[in-house]
Amino acid sequence: MMVPGIHFQKKTRRRVLSEPVSGQSGFFRADMSFLVLLFFVGILGTHIYSVNSNAVQGYQVRQLEKEIAGMQEENARLKIREADAKSFQRIDEARESLSLDQALNPRYFEERDVVASR
């Protein structure tokens, strides 16, 4: 029935993408998109992990370098202490404090001496 002043429009129904079209499954399409997304997320994640790992290793290397430097310093300190201990000045002082006599005229025996070998 036609009512003056009122126009009717024929409704058309839109087709949804997910509706199957001649033989293709909607689930397959959803799965593909998800996989692609997952792939790119994976790549990104791996990259971030790699960068972070390198950064951490960099700090570890720096820490090890500090430890090596510390050990080298300690080594140098010990060598100086060794040199101090071996110094003739210290040995002479120790000899005096222990009241040891200095050998002034040592006599040396020849190696061929029969008496010395018995």
Binding site: N54, A55, V61, A83, S87, F88, Q89, R107
Partner: protein, 588 residues
Amino acid sequence: MRIQQKKTISKGRSVVMLRVPFAFVCFLLIGTGLLWQLYRIQVRDHVLWSEQAQNQRLSTFDLKAERGEIFLHDNGEPYPLAVNREYMAVYVVPREVRDPKAVARELAVVLGKDEGEILGKLSDPTDPFEMVKRRLSDDEEERIRGLSLKGVSLLSEKYRYYPAGNLASHVVGFAGLGEQGGAGGYGVEAAFDSELKGKLSRVHEERDAGGRWISLSNSRGDAPDHGDVLTLTIDRVIQHETEKIVREYREKHEADAMTVIVMEPATGKILAMANAPDFDPNKYAETEDFSLFLNPAVSSTYESGSVMKPITMAIGIDEQKVAPTTEYTDTGSVSESGYTVRNSEGKVYGRSTMTKVLEESINTGMIFVERSVGHKVFAERLRRFGFGEKTGVRLPAESGGNLHNLNDFRIGIQFYTAAYGQGITVTPLQIVTAYAALANGGVLMRPQIVESIKHADGSVETVEPIEVRRVISKETSETIGHMLRNVVVNGHGKRADVPGYEVVGKTGTAQVARTDGGGYEEGKTIGSFAGYAPRENPRFVVLMKVDNPKDVQWAESSAAPAFGQLMRFLLEYARIEPTESLEPLKSR
């Protein structure tokens, strides 16, 4: 009604239609503004902002170069003679100290300093820093840490340290550490300063807002070039024994000073160089007399006296003007140009061979040799032996001696006195180098003090011996060796002998020139003994010099016995087999 509804709908639609373009224009303007800002920051002013960002992140600092260390030989192992040692220094932050009196009292007890002095440093409550004491001992450092005083902290500083103390002090000299590897004063520290100090480097790093280093950033910079490490030719044990003998004989004869040099004749390597008085390089700042730092072995010149006679004799023999059996007649004196030269103690020897001339140290005999050679040749040959010029040893302040008296050939008396070692000045190093040439077959070697240099990259450079020139033939060298053996066996050098070995050498008792005019000091002498052993294939050449001994006059009583004691040690230390029959050692 329909027309009215149509008009209402049209009016509404017009208003709506106006808002859309208006919004569009607004968004367009904002968008344009944003785009313009992006363009301005990222394209037009990219360089400026990029640099500013980098400057905020970039941190630059210098890496100091470590000063190279110096080592001696010690039975195949290197012994450190000069090292860089870390010492702690204690400082106070007065504005953090709550009870200055208590802190000053505690520190004074530990550090052995005046309490008032420390309290003075704590007087300003706004002061951020005051140094209290540097170079703490291990005990002091431990006690300061144990106190845990607020406002008192420790600071690490590096100093040059000499573990052996006075050992070879004139050879090594001393150095202070600074920004670029320090600076050396005297000795090897000064002579090799450019090699020892190294080169600092600059490092550029990126840091975040908190000042932390960004590990993935681009760091630029190289490791610093640390200074070269030197190993000297000096043997620690020989140096120590030499210094011990120097101290002993200087004290015994109350000598003003002593100098001893031990050299390897085949290579010119200096195995020991000892002077007395000496100094402790760790305490050089406490020494008031700076002349003590000069190395008399290379810097001080003197008239050598009769130790020059073997050189003159070698020249005469090499020129084939005289031979060991050449004879002349000694009348006890020679006159020339109004001057008269006499033998020692006015002795007259009559008919004498050249061998006897050396044995008895006859002055007129040396004049005979010099006359036979001629002034010009004598002066030239003396210069070829290295006198009158520096030896080239790499030690600072080396003197070349003075042969100016031999420039005018008309003044014969100067040549006569030079023939027996007076009237010309030489250094101890020149004497021992010349004797090394007599010992090694006639080749003058350049004295060498550094054995090897280890560079920062790990490569090692060995310093090779340098032959300067041939000064006499091998035959002359052998002949002189035999003649000098006679001096030790039959002449004035008996007390220099070592039983079981062929020790050769010559005494010299020289007058000391006056510093305030012409002539010589009354009662002052310099006693020397120069020699080498074993005669065949000599391993050591030694000069023993005693300045102004108080209790004896002649070198045969001062320098010769000291030489003998040292040479005995050297031959036994080097495990050289005796070549003559062993006799029981007699106490000297």
